[in-house]
């Protein structure tokens, strides 16, 4: 196994970069594992990595129906932040952010975590107050946050419309300097490589088609590459969470919706932070390759298509141009969609299920990328110890029954509105 470093790249330069080995093995499934993680996205791979690294559970397989990172991990707008108001969310996402800060190092893989700051714009005093409420909560939770004036916003995002033509003028914004973006594919690859090095089997092109449950406990999975025995199954399949749960006879408070994302042609640095519009559905950042990466609202209907329609594309870009009129002459390069696991309160579910040995990680809505390391960290704990960590206690499935929902937006049990 080669360690990654400047030196090894330089050395490779002299030998035609021929010394590199596969970043992960391509193993065939074993007949049984101590734990099986379904879903080779960031969450599944991180879970396997932390199981092996922190909990000594190394006989683990990650089963991925396609290629790793091909789900939402590979198609998200990569915003990482921990600017949450409700405590059940805040501490968890902050844990995740702290893991991000050392992730490249921990994985020996540069995931290009760029702490360029996340700026949420406010367009009225009431919105400023709402952001202040959130920002103050963040501060009291020990998380960084700044409330910016319109002038301060202008310094960070001069391309926004500060003219008297703006339909909803900018009043200011909430800024989290430690937030930012990361190279999404590298997150999946980095976790896969690191997990593989600890002995985890990362198995691609292996779709789980059934979950075996006997007397209320899991015994194994059926896959397109045969049956595999195990006593612990962790589901980390994002948009397909309800499909997998159904295999075990569970109905969940989740609907799958469609979220689109877009990227522009590559440009020299144009915008240096992540900016979200407060008077419409639009947020934007720039990838290191130079593309402006942006997105907005859900298309609005249940979907598994990974492919959206024109009205939402138009709407998101209309919002974008309303905020940044100089976008008009730049060009859309590509747009795509992902299958969002939308819960009834907009917050994720990580925890146990009524079936023994079946653990659930899903309901990420459009915010699960930033959760990747944290999610893997607490999920590994939950699977290994058979009980949630303090950081994911509030994210239990049972909260819907008791009413302890975590509804950051106050939108209520309509998944498409979160």
């Amino acid at each position: 196994m080669n360690d990654y470093s400047v030196w090894s790249v330089l050395r490779g330069g002299l030998t035609g970069q021929r010394h590199w080995k596969p970043a992960w093995r391509d193993p065939d499934p074993q007949p049984s594992y101590d734990a099986i993680i379904v879903g080779g996205g960031g969450h599944g791979l991180a879970t396997a990595f932390y199981l092996a690294k922190l909990h000594g559970v190394k006989n683990v397989a990650v089963l991925e129906k396609g290629w790793i990172g091909g789900g939402n991990t590979g198609r998200n707008t990569t915003i990482v932040r921990s600017n949450y108001m409700l405590e059940g969310n805040a501490h968890f996402y902050e844990k995740s952010l702290q893991l991000w800060e050392q992730l490249s190092h921990e994985l020996n893989y540069n995931v290009m975590f760029s702490q360029r700051g996340v700026l949420n714009l406010a367009h009225s005093d009431a919105q400023m107050d709402a952001y202040a409420r959130r920002g103050n909560a963040m501060r009291l939770n020990g998380i960084d946050a700044d409330l910016l004036t319109a002038e301060q916003v202008r310094e960070i995002a001069p391309m926004c419309d500060f003219s008297d033509k703006a339909r909803f003028p900018i009043h200011g914004g909430l800024f989290q300097p430690r937030g930012g973006t990361a190279r999404h594919d590298a997150v999946a690859w980095g976790f896969a490589r690191a997990a593989d090095r600890l002995g985890v089997d990362v198995i691609q092109n292996c779709e789980v088609t059934g979950i075996d449950v006997e007397q209320g406990r899991v015994t194994g999975v059926q896959t397109t590459r045969g049956a595999i025995k195990t006593k612990k199954i962790g589901l980390a399949v994002a948009g397909h969470t309800t499909q997998l749960a159904e295999m075990a006879g569970l109905r969940l408070p989740i609907e799958s919706h469609l979220l689109q994302a877009m990227v522009s042609e590559p440009l020299k640095p144009w915008i240096d932070t992540v900016v979200t519009f407060g008077a419409g559905h639009f947020y934007i950042s720039q990838s290191d390759k130079g593309g402006l990466v942006f997105g907005g609202d859900l298309d609005g209907y249940n979907s598994f298509a990974q492919r959206g329609n024109l009205p939402m594309l138009e709407h998101v870009i209309q919002c974008g141009v309303a905020l940044m009129p100089s976008l008009k002459r730049l060009r859309l390069l590509r747009h795509w969609g992902g299958v969002m696991d939308m819960t009834m309160d907009g917050s994720p579910i990580i925890g146990k299920t009524p079936i023994e040995g079946l653990y659930l990680n899903g309901g990420w809505c459009y915010g699960g990328f930033k959760a990747t390391p944290g999610s893997g960290w607490v999920f590994a704990h939950t699977i290994a110890q058979d009980r949630p960590h303090a950081l994911n206690e509030a994210l239990s499935l049972s909260r819907f029954e008791t009413g302890a929902v975590l509804d950051e937006r106050g939108a209520g049990p309509t998944p498409g509105w979160h």
Partner: protein, 86 residues
């Protein structure tokens, strides 16, 4: 872009409608003691044929039941609420 056949107004673009959600849910009757949790929270969320409601808000304001494939986005049937079943 989805095109929905409103039973009253004929085929119209999705932009005239708002999505309401799963059209198979049965609200417990007034006075009923049970079933509310399932009605409010749990969903089949099929990958495939889904019966759902859309409201023709810009048109006749009526709810339209739509049978649609959530994977292909093909619309298989449209009708009045209750007339479209799985």
């Amino acid at each position: 872009m989805l095109r929905i056949e409103c039973p009253w107004c004929g085929p119209r673009d999705m932009v005239e409608f708002t999505y309401v959600g799963d059209g198979t849910l049965q609200r417990p009757a007034i006075g009923a003691e049970a079933g509310h949790f399932d009605y409010v929270y749990l969903r089949d969320n099929p990958k495939g044929v889904h019966v759902e409601l859309w409201r023709h808000g810009a048109g006749c304001r009526q709810h339209v039941a739509v049978k649609r494939d959530t994977l292909s986005h093909d619309i298989l049937q449209c009708g009045k609420p209750g007339e479209v079943t799985k």
